[in-house]
């Protein structure tokens, strides 16, 4: 703790417990607690208390107040817990019975403030921070704290209830691990009394006829098994397993979600995961007895486990696949595609009844599809899901949803009636469809798949969000289309692409801007994925899409313009990759596009399109498509001059990134390795290369931009500029060759001024134009000198400090609290 803080703290403590406690916001007190917490972690708690007796005095003073405010009392409880975390500090505080008075029966528990949830929460937090040693535990047990915590589990405030559960979990595990560190007894009766009380409470609540008690216990157990994986948990489980099992076999399962949570947490514990563990049959039973909606999350959790018996896994898969299987059967698919599941392993009656009910059908399907998407997105799924059948089932759902499917079974008719036009299910199904494109080895009915996707893309009834998802799914499938072994016919690909571009064309003319925007994004994704594919390029360039995209650069909606910029920027790449493309009548004019993009960068009134332009320019330069631009140096120079004037800091930052890429590439041309940290060969340092690069940078007016950016009013811009300058300097001055900072008076004209200006930290100041200190940013020698002279490291450190680093200091916090007291007094005086 700094000296200043040490002086301020007693005044703050006195003020807090004084007659006019500051009306400081709770956040101030919380910050104070955070700071004191950091201090108590850094040095022993006892020392902190001894060095700052004001802390204990504060606690005593709060206790002495007749009716302390809820805020202050909460603060005191938390502070006491924090300080008493070490045993020595605990003893120190207990000399005056401070802790017993705060956490005992006569303390806040008996006062009016207890009605405030914040006080109850603080009491629990304080107790939790303190309960890290035996004396604290004894204190709590001795003062009937356990009963209070048991009661607080059912607190109306969810925060309090959850804190109470966490405290119980901690108390139980701590008492066992602290008091019986080696081998907690194999029977509960050998456990410490405190643990026994808690276990007894759990057992009693589980057997209670009150549903809320049962729920509380299940939540407590879920928390316990989730956070504690010690062997003694098995002993605890053996005492309650039967009771929990009985819940599952009841006619209507109580608290099914809590049961599923509990089992899931247990399944992740190494204590129970052995295949022969008696716990697994219970999971199987849960998967069987809970309804598919209730069992879904449990099944997903089980399938993510890497250690789990195969039969449980199969049961979990069954839960998730059953609705999909029912869909396939209800749609009366031709027999050659049998359902997903063998009829012998599943009783579809429950799922069928859920699917045939209007209220549950959509939610069951959405949940199942959500789970499947989650599982299919995992890189290492320990179980194989039947990709092809799932794909068929998802396609069936999508056909149900747009009314294309003519069901023949009664269940099919009911499902169809519910699903037609159901956006929720459409969205989820399209998500799964997109993920399925990544599944290898699917036997894909490509034509019907694209028929469905195109029907969604074409239909005017498709909701904009569903359309976006359809675009996403279509792009994913299209991108992997050329790789599919089962589908190599070029003309088929061409046909599909033609259809897609026809739809895209229409969508690009949509009056709804969201649709135009998603269409352009779709186009960009397609170009990124299929740029090298001949059929794709030909079909794209012979369609109306490029012309429409260019038209959309002038769209009234800025988001659309931004997407059009990105799409147009990518379209150029298509012509770049295949300039020889036999496109007739629809020549895409790249010079024209570049000019248009530059125009947008300098003129567009909105930030998004300008940001998009600068990003596209960076992409072009980074990917080395420099032949798009006749003169890269000239181009970069023009762009950064425009970007520098931009009011949007992201555009200015983009300009700096462009400079960075340009810098790396210029050096690369001189033979320097791309990575700025790689050791470079001695040839590189040859003065020829130096001079050449330096002159290029000066001609392109990069230095002026970089140095001025150091003073940018937005910190990220300054930081970036500094990083780039440091990188440039390291290229010109090998690390060992840098001399100590020169005396400013010795360095060249203007540089001294520049250095002073930068050093003064007046970074918000702009460079005065036409002053006598003008620096020639285009003079290579001056710039080399500036790089060597200016202490960029110091600047870098300054820039890295956040702008509120002064306000964030503990000293400032303490002053704020004191000022609040002062302000309160002033206000009082004003009243007279």
């Amino acid at each position: 703790m700094s000296r200043e803080c040490g002086l301020l703290l007693p005044r703050v403590c006195a003020a807090l417990a004084g007659p006019r406690p500051p009306a400081a916001a709770d956040t101030c007190l919380q910050k104070l607690l955070d700071w004191l917490g950091e201090l108590s972690e850094a040095e022993p708690g006892l020392k902190l208390l001894q060095d700052n007796p004001c802390l204990a005095e504060l606690l005593a003073a709060v206790l002495a107040l007749p009716e302390p405010g809820a805020g202050l009392l909460s603060f005191a409880l938390r502070l006491a817990g924090l300080l008493a975390a070490s045993e020595s500090a605990f003893q120190h505080l207990q000399q005056e019975q401070l802790l017993a008075r705060l956490f005992g029966e006569a303390g806040p528990r008996a006062g009016a403030a207890w009605a405030d949830a914040a006080v109850r929460g603080a009491w629990l937090d304080g107790a939790r921070s303190m309960a890290l040693h035996e004396p604290a535990l004894r204190l709590l047990c001795a003062h009937g704290a356990l009963d209070v915590i048991f009661t607080l589990q059912g607190d109306p405030s969810l925060f309090v209830a959850s804190a109470a559960r966490r405290l119980l979990v901690h108390t139980l595990s701590f008492s066992l691990e602290y008091e019986m560190p080696k081998a907690p007894g194999t029977r509960v009766c050998y456990w410490p009394p405190c643990a026994q009380v808690i276990v007894k409470h759990i057992e009693d609540s589980l057997q209670s006829s009150s549903v809320s008690h049962v729920k509380q216990s299940l939540k407590l157990l879920a928390g316990l098994f989730g956070s504690c994986h010690a062997p003694w948990t098995e002993v605890l489980w053996s005492g309650i397993a039967k009771q929990v099992q009985s819940f599952l076999t009841e006619e209507s399962v109580q608290a099914p979600h809590l049961l599923a949570d509990l089992l899931l947490n247990m399944s992740r514990s190494p204590v129970f995961c052995e295949p022969e563990s008696s716990f697994w049959p219970l999971v199987t039973s849960a998967l069987e007895h809970l309804t598919p909606v209730q069992a879904g999350p449990l099944a997903v959790g089980i399938l993510r486990l890497h250690k789990c018996p195969q039969d449980v896994r199969i049961q979990a898969v069954t839960v998730l696949l059953q609705p999909m299987d029912c869909i396939l059967r209800a749609a009366s698919q031709p027999l050659e595609y049998s359902g997903l599941l063998d009829e012998s392993v599943t009783d579809p009656a429950t799922v069928e009844s859920l699917l045939s009910s209007k209220s549950s059908c959509a939610s069951l399907l959405c949940q199942t599809l959500g789970h499947l998407e989650e599982l299919l997105s995992l890189s290492h799924l320990p179980v194989d899901l039947p990709g092809t059948s799932l794909l068929r089932s998802v396609m069936t759902i999508l056909r149900f949803c747009n009314g294309l499917l003519i069901p023949t079974s009664p269940l099919g008719s009911k499902i169809s009636q519910t699903l037609i036009g159901c956006f929720r299910v459409q969205r989820s199904a399209l998500d799964v469809l997109a993920v399925l494109s990544e599944q290898k080895g699917c036997d894909v009915p490509v034509e019907s798949l694209f028929d469905i996707l195109l029907s969604y893309l074409e239909s005017p009834n498709t909701n904009p969000m569903v359309l976006k998802k359809s675009f996403q799914a279509t792009s994913k499938w299209l991108v992997c289309l050329p790789e599919m072994s089962c589908f190599s016919s070029q003309w088929q690909i061409k046909k599909i692409l033609q259809d897609v571009f026809l739809v895209l064309q229409k969508r690009l003319c949509s009056p709804c801007w969201e649709v135009r925007d998603s269409s352009l994004e779709f186009l960009t994704v397609l170009i990124n994925g299929l740029r090298d594919h001949d059929e794709f390029r030909q079909t794209l360039l012979s369609s109306e899409v490029p012309r429409l995209t260019e038209d959309l650069l002038g769209d009234p909606e800025s988001y659309v313009r931004a997407s059009a910029v990105t799409a147009a920027g990518h379209l150029i790449l298509v012509t770049y990759v295949a300039p020889e493309s036999p496109v007739t009548g629809n020549q895409y004019n790249k010079e024209n596009t570049v000019a248009k993009l530059q125009e947008i960068l300098s003129r567009d009134p909105e930030g998004f399109p300008r940001r998009a332009v600068i990003n596209i320019f960076i992409k072009w330069l980074r990917k080395g498509y420099t032949s798009l631009l006749q003169d890269t140096e000239q181009f970069v120079s023009e762009v950064i001059q425009t970007a520098e004037r931009d009011l949007d800091w992201e555009v200015r930052l983009g300009g700096l990134e462009l400079v960075e890429v340009f810098f790396v590439q210029t050096f690369c041309r001189c033979g320097r390795p791309k990575c700025p940290y790689a050791p470079f060969s001695p040839e590189f340092t040859s003065s020829v290369c130096h001079n050449e690069s330096l002159q290029v940078f000066c001609r392109a007016k990069l230095f002026g931009f970089l140095f001025r950016s150091l003073c940018d009013c937005d910190r990220p811009v300054g930081q970036k500029a500094c990083d780039i300058l440091l990188a440039i300097r390291s290229s010109f001055y090998p690390s060992n060759s840098l001399k100590d900072s020169q005396d400013p008076e010795e360095v060249g004209h203007g540089i001294a001024w520049l250095q002073r200006t930068l050093r003064q930290g007046s970074l918000a100041q702009t460079f005065p134009a036409g002053s006598s200190h003008e620096v020639d940013f285009q003079d290579p020698e001056s710039m080399l000198l500036a790089l060597g002279t200016i202490d960029l490291e110091e600047l870098h450190d300054d820039l890295n400090k956040s702008s509120d680093h002064v306000e964030k200091s503990p000293q400032s916090l303490l002053q704020d609290i004191l000022a609040a007291v002062g302000a309160a007094e002033d206000n009082e005086a004003d009243c007279y």
Partner: protein
């Protein structure tokens, strides 16, 4: 309560409701799909149409070749187009008391009813309905009359001949009912019988029922109707919309507690969402114009066109179409655009508030001001001087059989750059295009029908909860082309009653009460007697006076003074003779106490038998039977009057008199 169904078209209804003593016609829609069987009426001589070959029967007979022409495998009647009228034979239409019109599309048959059937009643409609209805009729008459056709075909209608014709002529129904278009004098005469009403205005019909128009949200001035008496309520829902377009929103709350709800005029394209269709319309329009093509939009001069113009107003700049001219050609174009701006009170809230700014409620005013939208009465005259391509033309008639649209079809049909976009849902676009085949022009079908769809209907019915729903039979089954779409039908409990053309439905609602008033003097004379706590009864002797379907109980006249005058006793017709009043009895007879009473009075051999309806008390010695039932008591004894009187008095002791 009976419903006579005169039209089979679900969105162009014509029904007659007999309710209490009134006969009310609900709408009189004109089915114009019959015109699709006729050749188009070109404004300018069309060599193509005039050269079409006459149709020859399979056996080579050519007697129909003047009447029927063949075009691309279809056969058309070469005559003035004719319309299918509502049934006129099902009941005597001269007995119709009033006609209630729900919107301007549903009044197109009005001149046929008011001018040809002896109708003498009143027609009720809102002001915009009348004015825009007039415009539609004017346009129709004008389009047909300005292309006079010498020939009128009738031979093909002969039943024997019709059987030999190819489809769809062969299957055309009620061809004998098809009539030529009415004339302007008939239109004017029909419209003069209309009395204009405002929303929620209560109109008394002969004191028997009250009718009230409610906003239906579908078109300017469109209404649903409530027809109610004191104890019954019938709602007539026809062409309603819940979408936020230009008209005032639909009034749903007033439809609650209906005994019968007659539901017609739902969307004709339940699978097409209007928003999506507007998007489709704009996209196709933009694509065509960008490629240098022209766009033709066959439409009515009022209705969806206002919304389309509003949508285009917002869209044309974003689509780069600012320089493309939009033409609206109709003999009533100017009136339609101007009328829309003056009916502020009939518009949705947003548009109403604009009027107070003051700004025109519809943005098409600005389109006209900036010369982006131009309107002309016909293709002749100014239009031909201003005409620039590529352009967008809105013109009628959507059937493509008459009106300026015929000219544009002939003009633009040959180029694949042009597009015709169908937005009106009333006609099958393929049938409409049939006489123009082969056609190079692109065709896009974007039917925009803002009327209720089945999901909205099901929500509406849940909310309104009518006891019975009556609807056209088309709404009780999935559409014939999509028989699996069971979501496209009305789903309610109890299932709706359906009707078809020329059917008479007895509505399932029985009238049980009638309101009768009593005069204050009579009320004063009543002496109520409380027979149970809270229930008092009084006997009333009065004269029931009924006039104009209102019933009043009045004091009976004083008894005639006996022989006060020497004049001959006049037999009075309206004063009934008053008899002396006998007291009314009430209560029940407790059997055990009755037996005890009998015994007290000396009847010793009393025997009681239980029967299904009550008891029989037997006095064996006296050979007498007393039958006690819930609603009757009989004393049966053989000619022993004193005994009967004695027993009667014993029975009466147990009963209350008043």
């Amino acid at each position: 309560m009976k419903l006579y169904c005169l039209s089979g078209h679900p969105t162009l209804p014509c029904n007659v409701l007999k309710f209490k003593s009134t006969t009310i016609m609900l709408d009189c829609g004109l089915d114009m799909t019959s015109t699709l069987n006729f050749l188009p009426l070109p404004l300018v001589q069309s060599p193509r149409l005039s050269k079409l070959p006459g149709w020859i029967l399979k056996d080579g007979s050519t007697f129909l070749d003047k009447e029927l022409k063949e075009c691309s495998g279809h056969v058309f009647v070469d005559s003035v187009p004719e319309f299918c009228l509502p049934e006129t034979e099902l009941l005597d239409l001269s007995t119709v008391d009033v006609i209630l019109i729900s919107n301007y599309h549903c009044m197109m048959a009005l001149p046929y009813i008011t001018e040809y059937t002896g109708f003498t009643g009143t027609v009720y409609a809102t002001e915009p309905t009348v004015q825009i209805g007039r415009l539609l009729m004017e346009e129709l008459v004008n389009s047909i009359e300005r292309v006079p056709k010498a020939q009128s075909a009738s031979m093909w209608k002969n039943k024997e001949v019709q059987r030999l014709l190819p489809a769809p002529l062969k299957d055309a129904v009620e061809v004998s009912m098809w009539r030529k278009c009415y004339t302007m004098p008939e239109v004017n005469a029909a419209l003069s019988k209309i009395q204009m009403v405002g929303y929620s205005q209560k109109i008394e019909l002969f004191g028997a029922v009250q009718v009230t128009p409610l906003s239906s949200g579908y078109a300017l001035g469109s209404s649903n109707w409530i027809i109610q008496s004191h104890y019954e309520k019938v709602s007539y829902v026809s062409g309603s919309s819940l979408l936020t377009t230009h008209p005032q929103p639909m009034d749903q709350a007033s439809l609650k507690n209906s005994d019968v709800l007659i539901l017609t005029g739902l969307t004709q394209i339940p699978t097409a969402n209007p928003d999506g269709m507007v998007g489709e319309f704009c996209s196709n329009l933009a694509m065509t114009v960008r490629n240098g093509g022209n766009v033709l939009v066959p439409c009515y001069p009022s209705g969806v066109i206002y919304d389309l113009l509003e949508c285009l107003y917002q869209y044309i700049d974003s689509a780069g179409l600012s320089n493309v001219p939009f033409y609206f050609i109709s003999p009533v174009a100017n009136s339609s655009l101007e009328f829309s701006q003056i009916f502020a009170e009939w518009l949705c809230h947003n548009k109403q508030t604009k009027v107070y700014l003051p700004e025109p409620p519809f943005p098409h005013a600005e389109l006209i001001q900036t010369n982006k939208l131009k309107h002309y009465p016909s293709i002749h005259g100014d239009f031909s001087n201003d005409f620039k391509q590529p352009c967008v033309v809105f013109t009628g008639h959507p059937s493509l059989r008459f009106g300026d649209v015929v000219h544009f079809m002939e003009l633009w049909g040959k180029s694949s750059l042009n597009t015709v976009i169908f937005t009106e849902p009333d006609f099958s676009y393929l049938d409409a295009l049939a006489p123009y085949q082969p056609l190079a022009m692109k065709c896009v079908y974007c039917p925009i029908d803002t009327r209720l769809n089945f999901i909205q209907v099901s929500k509406l019915l849940k909310e309104v909860q009518p006891l019975h729903v009556v609807c056209p039979e088309q709404y009780t089954q999935p559409p014939p082309t999509q028989s699996h779409r069971t979501d496209l039908m009305i789903d309610c409990q109890p299932p709706p009653m359906s009707y078809r053309r020329a059917e008479v439905l007895t509505l399932p609602y029985k009238r049980r009460y009638e309101k009768i008033e009593i005069t204050p003097e009579l009320a004063d004379s009543l002496v109520p007697l409380e027979i149970k706590p809270g229930i008092s009864l009084a006997t009333v002797s009065a004269v029931l006076h009924t006039k104009d379907n209102k019933h009043v109980l009045q004091l009976p006249p004083k008894p005639p003074q006996a022989a006060a005058s020497k004049k001959r006793k006049r037999v009075s017709d309206d004063v009934p003779e008053c008899r002396a009043l006998r007291p009314l009895l009430s209560g029940s007879i407790p059997v055990e106490q009755f037996v005890q009473t009998l015994e007290k009075h000396g009847f010793s051999d009393v025997k009681v038998e239980d029967t299904a309806k009550g008891h029989i008390v037997l006095l064996q010695e006296a050979e007498t039977l007393i039958q006690l039932e819930e609603d009757s008591t009989h004393i049966i004894c053989d000619n022993d009057e004193p005994l009967r009187v004695k027993l009667r008095d014993l029975v009466l002791k147990f009963l209350q008199k008043f």
